[in-house]
């Protein structure tokens, strides 16, 4: 499709090698755990074996007496008096009066070696008084459920709600009852999804150093070095600017590395150990037990539909637990649930609930996959009932520019209709299916995000350019930002170096999250390059003795704009840069803002499955992702986002889940048991990049990172129904559950 539009660009839309590729294929790239420093100590953390327990006493004397142990800390070493989310972060970093989940940190040690630190941790004696716990979200709102924290509810929760409800919301418009009355078919069902983990292959790791003077440094794998700085200093009562945070290369994040889990421990240990640097690396089981999984959800959906597929009314009531702290993405889940559809009568109700689980973190399009699982599953069943084609139904109800979104605001330019049409036209839809095979379709949505952004770029003496960004490169954003900068400056891609810099080098940046790096840092880099161009035109004008207004920038050189301006040969960026010292000093550009013009991204997935009727095992035969990218700056990395999102969604749909025992302990704490998709589980993942340019970005970019994880959950459920006749309303759709559903059908 929009390939013709690419003709206006030299670089945007091409697929050059990524600038950090060489480092990453040779093992040279340095990730969180790959750095060491002279005098460095190693840390280890003691974690609660109980889901909920009062901490009666902690005796650290034996650990402290061990040779090589330089510091032992408990909550007593942290400042008191924090409130709100700062308190939540501190409490999650190190338990206070109670351990709130299996894996909650209760003490930490720094010693001269990793093994010594681990030995010392085993010598710490903790006396616990085990308390009743609650794991399931529906159990947590029962009247007799153990109360996780009195007074945690915010002002949105009306009197009389169960104590574990900490946030409550209702929103919508129109009259849903009237909508249902208009319908030819009204269906209502309940859906459940289990918590899953982002599953980045790199465990959290950092090296922190903090002196008695309150000045510190940290090296850490993170999606956002400024978030790390703000949160660590808040938890430890430090001045924000005194901590300098350098991001390592990052081995995946998917939202889970936008917050802190154990980073302040390395700083607190360092301070107690006289300012020696302290390295802290999580094990995989620490990662699964104590870092951000996503929320689990229980969802009621009711929809009314006419015979022709028109949706007349829709209602969603979602309950989500995000661990022992407020913050499940129930709001986002509700916003996204009906976002693809034009609705006049819609109602949403949401409960954010506490349970004895780790504090949830963002996970790729937080909330959206759960809501889509419920809504897109029910819509599919209704299409079957009314014998309406599921793609036609979606096209009939699809939102377009100017429509009011289900969650309130009006849509700007969006590409849902184009996405659905491209899906309909794809050859995968006409491949015939065999016995026990089924095809499923579902749509998905993510808003995309802007966020605080600060970017600097500078022209070097030879006319090459460096760009300093604050958004860590997780999936090729250095390449896309270099492409846009080079395109703007009119210089080769190879002449631009994009550096992800530490907190001391720029103003505050939000993390690489919300699919914002290529949009926000990219937009800021383009604007900054524009400032440098203005300056270079001025330098050329001064040389020529003409008005700067009469100079234009074409193909990497200043030239007089038209004959009236004077006759001078173009002055290249290298010529201007070579003389900058004597023509006014350094040439650079800078831009900071919360960039406007975020473009939302819709996607549609089509999956073909085969279900073994003997075992209930589902095999993915074919997979298609169609999604609007606005404009793909580096199409290979856009495809990569689509494929990676789909693979994570497939794992969530079929296999991944947090499994708790009756004792409230997490039972699957290694990758063998928390099984993410492996290469032999998946087919090639076909992609179609739809391009409806975002008018809010100089090159039309929409964020593409998140939408792709949303449709797989319902698309696979829909395909399984077609293959088996059985409808699964609970994730994961693992073989035993599918088999039971087939049996229950009498199949």
């Amino acid at each position: 499709m929009a390939k013709d539009e690419f003709k206006e660009f030299k670089l945007v839309g091409t697929r050059p090698d990524r600038p950090d590729g060489l480092d990453k294929v040779t093992g040279r790239a340095r990730y969180g755990a790959d750095i060491s420093a002279p005098g460095m100590l190693w840390a280890a953390v003691l974690r609660s074996p109980h889901a909920h327990a009062r901490i009666v006493k902690i005796d650290t004397s034996k650990a402290e007496a061990l040779t090589g142990v330089k510091a032992v800390i408990t909550r007593a070493d942290f400042p008191t008096g924090l409130t709100g989310e700062d308190w939540n972060l501190q409490e999650n970093t190190m338990a206070g009066e109670r351990a709130l989940y299996d894996g909650h940190a209760v003490a930490a040690v720094a010693a001269t070696s990793k093994l010594r630190a681990e030995e010392a941790v085993r010598l710490i004696e903790v006396e616990y008084e085990v308390l009743p716990h609650v794991i399931d979200v529906d159990d947590a709102i029962k009247p007799d459920a153990p109360v996780i924290r009195e007074g945690a509810a915010d002002a949105t929760v009306p009197e009389g709600m169960p104590p574990n409800v900490v946030r409550y919301m209702e929103f919508g418009r129109g009259d849903v009852e009237a909508g249902f009355a208009e319908a030819d078919l009204v269906m209502e069902k309940t859906y459940k999804t289990e918590a899953t983990h982002q599953g980045y292959i790199e465990p959290h790791a950092c090296m922190g150093q903090l002196g008695a003077d309150g000045k510190g440094e940290m090296w850490v794998c993170t999606q956002g070095q400024w978030f790390i700085r703000k949160m660590c200093t808040a938890v430890l009562g430090l001045e924000t600017a005194q901590l300098r945070v350098t991001p390592s290369e990052i081995g995946g994040g998917f939202g889970g590395k936008t917050t802190i889990f154990m980073e302040p421990l390395s700083l607190a240990l360092s301070k107690k150990a006289g300012g020696k640097p302290v390295k802290l690396v999580m094990s995989r089981s620490d990662v699964l037990r104590a870092t951000g999984p996503t929320a689990s959800a229980s969802m009621d959906v009711k929809i009314g539909m006419k015979k022709d597929g028109t949706i007349t009314g829709a209602r969603a009531e979602f309950r989500m637990q995000g661990g022992a702290f407020p913050g499940s993405p129930v709001d986002m889940a509700l916003y996204c649930a009906f976002a693809p559809y034009k609705l006049t009568n819609v109602e949403h109700v949401g409960y954010d609930v506490l349970a004895n689980r780790p504090k949830c973190a963002a996970y790729r399009a937080p909330g959206s996959p759960m809501g889509a699982f419920a809504v897109e599953s029910l819509l599919d069943e209704m299409c079957r009932e009314l014998d309406v084609d599921p793609l036609d139904m979606r096209l009939k109800n699809a939102v377009r520019e100017g429509d009011t979104a289900s969650y309130g605001p009006k849509y700007g330019s969006i590409g849902l209709v184009e996405t659905l049409e491209a899906t309909k036209a794809h050859p995968n839809l006409s491949i015939p299916l065999g016995p026990n095979q089924g095809r499923g379709i579902a749509a998905g949505y993510w808003f995309n995000h802007n966020g605080e952004t600060s970017v600097s770029m500078a022209i070097s003496e030879d006319g090459t350019a460096q760009v300093s960004v604050g958004t860590p490169d997780i999936g090729g954003s250095r390449a896309s930002i270099a492409l846009m900068t080079a395109e703007t400056l009119g210089i080769p891609y190879e002449d631009v170096r994009v550096n992800v810099v530490e907190t001391g080098a720029l103003g505050v940046n939000e993390p690489t999250h919300g699919s914002r790096a290529t949009f926000a840092s990219g937009k800021a880099a383009v604007i900054a390059a524009g400032h440098a161009i203005t300056e270079m035109c001025k330098r050329a004008a001064n040389e020529w003795g003409i008005d700067p207004e009469a100079v234009e920038w074409v193909d990497g050189a200043a030239q007089p704009a038209g004959d009236n301006a004077g006759k001078f040969p173009p002055m290249s960026i290298a010529e201007i840069a070579g003389k900058m010292g004597s023509t006014g000093g350094p040439i650079s550009g800078h831009h900071e803002s919360v960039p406007e013009g975020v473009g939302a991204s819709f996607g549609c997935h089509v999956v073909d499955v085969e279900v073994d009727p003997e075992t209930g095992r589902t095999t993915i035969l074919r997979y298609l992702v169609v999604q609007d990218a606005g404009r793909a700056i580096h199409p290979a990395y856009v495809e990569g986002q689509y494929q990676g999102g789909a693979a994570q969604g497939i794992g969530w749909a079929l296999n991944e889940a947090y499994i708790y025992g009756d004792d409230g302990r997490l039972q699957n704490t290694v990758f063998l048991d928390y099984r993410v998709p492996v290469a032999s589980d998946l087919p090639m993942i076909d992609t179609v990049i739809v391009e409806v340019p975002n008018p809010g970005h100089p090159y039309g970019v929409r964020g593409v990172g998140e939408t792709g994880i949303t449709p797989p959950l319902p698309a696979i459920a829909n395909a399984i129904q077609e293959a088996t006749g059985a409808r699964l309303c609970e994730l994961p759709m693992s073989p035993p559950k599918v088999l039971a559903a087939i049996k229950a059908k009498g199949g």
């Binding site: 040779t26 292959i201 990569g640």
Partner: protein, 160 residues
Amino acid sequence: MSKVHVTTSVNGDEVEFLADPRETLLDCLRDHIGLTGSKEGCGTGDCGACSVTLDGTLVCSCLVLGVEADGKRVETIEGMADGAELHPLQRKFIEHAALQCGFCTPGILVAAKKLLETNPNPTEEEVRYWLAGNLCRCTGYDKIIRAVMDAAAELRQEAA
């Protein structure tokens, strides 16, 4: 626990270090001889990020003790390129955008190299099963499989 003196060859160079008998080969590579290209994703043999070869056998270095490397030959990601010249697999991974975060990449490259030494003409299915012990959370494997197949084709051509 008293340390053990280990003499081994890593990427062709003779290397000596003192290992605590409890330390894994991965820990020794990373912490004693500064080769941090091999990664720890799990420590339990499930993710393959620590893949190296030991006397030519593909192993998870997190499941091998450092002392077991005594007298053996270890090959890691750091030894894969021939000086400045990348191995075709390394080149193809960059060319096909077969890495996003790149954390799984060293292990996958080491494992894929062993595959192509064992089977120069693998089918897609054979590549998928060979790499089933190497987790990648970012890519959905599509571009990784393509890069390996393409590198295999190039190597066959060179050999022909």
